[in-house]
Amino acid sequence: MPRQCDICHDARAIVRRPKTGQSICKECFFHVFETEVHNTIVDSKLFKPGDRVGIGASGGKDSTVLAYVMKALNDQYNYGLDLYLLSVDEGISGYRDDSLETVKRNKEQYGLPLLIVSYEQLYGWSMDSIVAAVGRKNNCTFCGVFRRQALDRGALMLDLDHIVTGHNADDVAETILMNIFRGDISRLGRCTEIATTGDGYVVRSKPFKYAYEKEIVMYAYLRRLDYFSTECTYSPNAYRGYAREFLKGLERVRPSAILDIIHSGEAMHVAADVQLPSLDRCERCGYISSNSVCKACVLLEGLEKGIPKLGISRINKLAQDQEACPPDRREQAVDVVHFEKLREEALEMRRERQRRSACQQSACACAGDSV
């Protein structure tokens, strides 16, 4: 006998919800999923009307569903946001080319403007050339550090107020567990924040913080969304894998464990007398950093000088390596654009926009015409 939906008691149930185990119909699933994201956004007061918001789009399921849901909620609840798709091209042939095609299709499907920034363009090194120089072992560090900066650079180029990324509940729970296992107290205190001011200029947040990965997949499947799902060709970091495996086991024992971990993480509070690194600006590129030179600049220097382990291994070992094979400059990197310059340009764009909208509103003589 077909089972009735547990929520509306009307339609036939077609899925079992991973978060709660309820058997529900399709419409109710869409409704609860979207409402939970809406609640997350509203409760944390993430946006204000008029915000220019960039959706970090990789073409994967998280970012595709994020783009879809953000657009849907923006329309349904009148957030008043200007949405953009922001994508990073790491230069991994075979993998990134395909996922970028998906992002370009998303641009057409959702009608959102798209900006793609690439490592090649920003730094002069693509992931393929980095892996050729560094090998397969620490390449994820490079990619992660560069991507974070790349997204911020892209956001400034578009003069955005806000970046949203598709990090889901599973990601946040894994991060909490990982930081506990590795004893990273400063990250543990910060990783449950839904929004971070990071640079001080562009806010970064995770509207999917409480959405289960399985539900995101289910949503994409039931809505027939277009996405690309293959693992990165350069194998993923080993340590997160342990936390992931543990989380999968927990989810099987008790599905609510993922939310419970996030709840615990939010409740954890670092003792007042614990030393936390202070945040400063990089002296070379102006990006936010806890040391005098940011990690991206250190890594780039290492690549340039042919010391690929700079920023990853310890110094004494490096000195030995250097004596063994003297460094040769690669002349491959481009000079990174200083963040101050990017911020000034963004401010200029903002002033221009405000001036133009003020002109249009007051119907002065120059209304409508542009520079």
Binding site: D6, V32, T35, F181, L188, R254, L259, S264
Partner: protein, 313 residues
């Protein structure tokens, strides 16, 4: 040495109703998640304490919940014995491995709010200011202790719990223990790193003044239920209010009104009771905890009232 039995938590004196019985376990599909109602009950006189204890465990939803309840009962009895014997420092033999596993397991159950109290090196035991618990063995990992015992001829036994010998996926505690021990094998300093991290955590300011959960006596978060409701929506698209606001009709012969204790339970105990069968009788200390807070609360209200008495019309 002083001994208490687990079933002593059900040892009732006198004729008064002394147990809280769970009336309404919510999250039945379709209901909104906001009621935990209990009822004062006299308790079936024909049942011995031991039988009541068994009924309690049988009525809980999963092995994880049973282990959680067992921990709560053991802690309560330890605290009571310590108070009776007037011992203030209470030394607990938790090894580093045990503390690390406990930290992860408590996190996974949603007990982050009370972590420093439950695994801290030095903490008031069970929220009471007269017994302080210390964990001096936290620097040792379990293997070191086992070898020490072996070489110095200490005898020890394995105290079986609900999941001893069961496969890993039997409960959260079991899974966590297996995982932490395995991780420590691959990354040698995991246990000591985790223990050091524990020491750097402290209670949130809200936790220091929060009310105590009536089941586990840990600080109860103020908005646990609302937080859950916002993130686990249970309402159909075209309805504005929750579909079912079924208030439990107290149609039983025992016509004690049911008390809504949702705000008196911490997040994790809400999960625990949510999966329990209705009719499960909670140990006697739950009622004591409920009344104790009420007394405090009444006392504070009385103090406030006296301060503003002259202005009350």
């Amino acid at each position: 040495c002083i001994v208490a039995r687990l079933e002593d938590v059900f040892a009732l004196e006198g004729d008064q109703p002394a147990l809280l019985e769970l009336v309404h376990a919510t999250i039945a599909p379709g209901t909104s998640r906001d009621q935990f109602c209990v009822r004062l009950a006299k308790g079936d006189e024909s049942m011995s304490s031991r039988e009541r204890l068994r009924a309690l465990f049988a009525g809980l939803g999963s092995a994880t919940d049973r282990e959680d309840m067992l921990d709560i009962i053991k802690s309560f009895l330890l605290a009571r014995l310590a108070r009776q014997a007037q011992c203030s420092p209470l030394l607990l033999g938790d090894s580093g491995t045990r503390i690390a596993a406990k930290l992860v397991s408590l996190t996974s159950r949603g007990r982050g709010f009370s972590l420093p109290l439950e695994v801290g090196a030095e903490a008031p035991f069970l929220g009471s200011s007269d017994v302080t618990a210390y964990r001096p063995m936290r620097e040792y990992i379990m293997k070191e202790i086992a070898f020490f015992n072996l070489w110095t001829g200490q005898r020890s036994v394995v105290v079986p719990t609900f999941t001893t010998g069961a496969p890993e996926a039997a409960s959260i505690d079991r899974l966590t223990e297996a995982f932490v021990v395995g991780l420590d094998r691959d990354f040698a300093s995991t246990v000591s790193t985790v223990c050091r991290t524990v020491q750097k955590l402290e209670l949130r300011p809200e936790a220091k003044t929060a009310a105590q959960c009536i089941v586990c006596r840990m600080p109860a978060e103020a908005n646990a239920q609302e937080w859950r409701n916002r993130l686990t929506v249970n309402v159909a698209p075209d309805r504005q209010s929750p579909l079912e606001q079924q208030r439990v009709s107290t149609s039983s012969a025992d016509s004690q009104p049911s008390l809504d204790v949702t705000s008196r339970l911490c997040y994790s105990c809400q999960s625990l009771l949510h999966f329990a069968k209705p009719g499960v009788a909670l140990p006697a200390f739950c009622l004591e905890n409920y009344r104790e807070h009420d007394n405090d609360f009444q006392q504070r209200r009385e103090d406030l009232r006296q301060q503003i008495e002259e202005f009350l019309i």
